[in-house]
């Protein structure tokens, strides 16, 4: 018997965007409020897991054609790159720089290289979680 998952799938379509938005909010608020790369990445991968629960793995890979192992590599490269950027500027490893910029829409904003480090954490967390879950899910 073919199961009819229309309620789950419709609610997934609506709530997925709420979860993704909240994870992005958690990621960017991490410097001043509770949040950051780790919890944001976990929540993003939670949204993808919800998509995996509502649909099958083929549909999800068609929607998000991402190789999560490469995502781990990209995240590590981001984190290591911000460290070596300080070395190139003649400072100790992982020295972060920041500046205040007044952007047209957002007003006075601090641009900090720690965000790039956090992007690395974000990508690694998504990559590791999704690699674990997909490899467990695929094995018969």
């Amino acid at each position: 018997m073919k199961t009819n998952d229309i309620i789950l799938q419709t609610v997934t379509k609506v709530t997925l965007f709420v979860i993704i938005l909240f994870s992005i909010y958690l990621f960017f608020t991490g410097h001043y409020h509770p949040g950051g790369g780790f919890i944001g990445g976990l929540m993003s991968s939670g949204a993808i897991v919800l998509l995996l629960l509502a649909y099958d793995i083929k549909t999800v890979t068609a929607i998000l054609p991402v190789d999560y192992k490469k995502m781990i590599g990209a995240g590590l490269l981001f984190s290591a790159g911000t460290g070596t950027g300080a070395l190139i500027a003649g400072k100790p490893f992982l020295t972060h720089a920041y500046t205040y910029v007044s952007l047209p829409l957002l007003g006075k904003t601090s641009l900090h290289t720690a965000v790039l480090f956090d992007t690395g954490v974000f990508l690694v967390v998504i990559g590791v979680t999704m690699t674990i879950i997909q490899t467990i899910g695929e094995s018969e």
């Binding site: 309620i7 789950l8 609610v11 609506v14 709530t15 709420v18 909240f22």
Partner: protein, 119 residues
């Protein structure tokens, strides 16, 4: 803070807590999975939503911070909690959990039998 809002917030939080208590009693007292699920997914949703609404109003009127996360949480719980109840109930039915002995109607079983005959 205006006194009438103090009472309103107290009303929201207390009625939400009361509904959660009613949920717990329902889970203990009701006879089978479906009636328990009915208690859990309805009144717990409303209870949590009322508590969150009270917290939202309190934070706004006390400190002036509008926590939109609480509003998002209310909307999220309102959307997802009944669906999870539906999924648990359906999983229980499909794995053959019996209804309470005194129940009189099972429309889904009738429908299943009808579609099985036509096939």
């Amino acid at each position: 803070m205006i006194v009438i809002f103090k009472f309103l917030i107290g009303l929201f939080v207390l009625s939400g807590a009361l509904l959660s208590l009613v949920t717990a009693f329902g889970l203990l007292r009701l006879p089978d999975v479906y009636t328990r699920n009915h208690a859990a997914s309805k009144s717990a949703t409303m209870g949590v939503m009322l508590v969150l609404l009270g917290a939202l109003l309190y934070a706004y009127l006390d400190t002036g911070h509008f926590h939109s996360r609480l509003l998002l949480g209310i909307a999220f719980i309102f959307m997802t909690s009944p669906v999870s109840g539906h999924l648990i109930s359906r999983a229980a039915y499909n794995s053959g959990v019996k209804l309470w002995g005194n129940s009189v109607r099972d429309d889904l079983a009738k429908q299943r039998k009808k579609t099985a005959n036509t096939r």
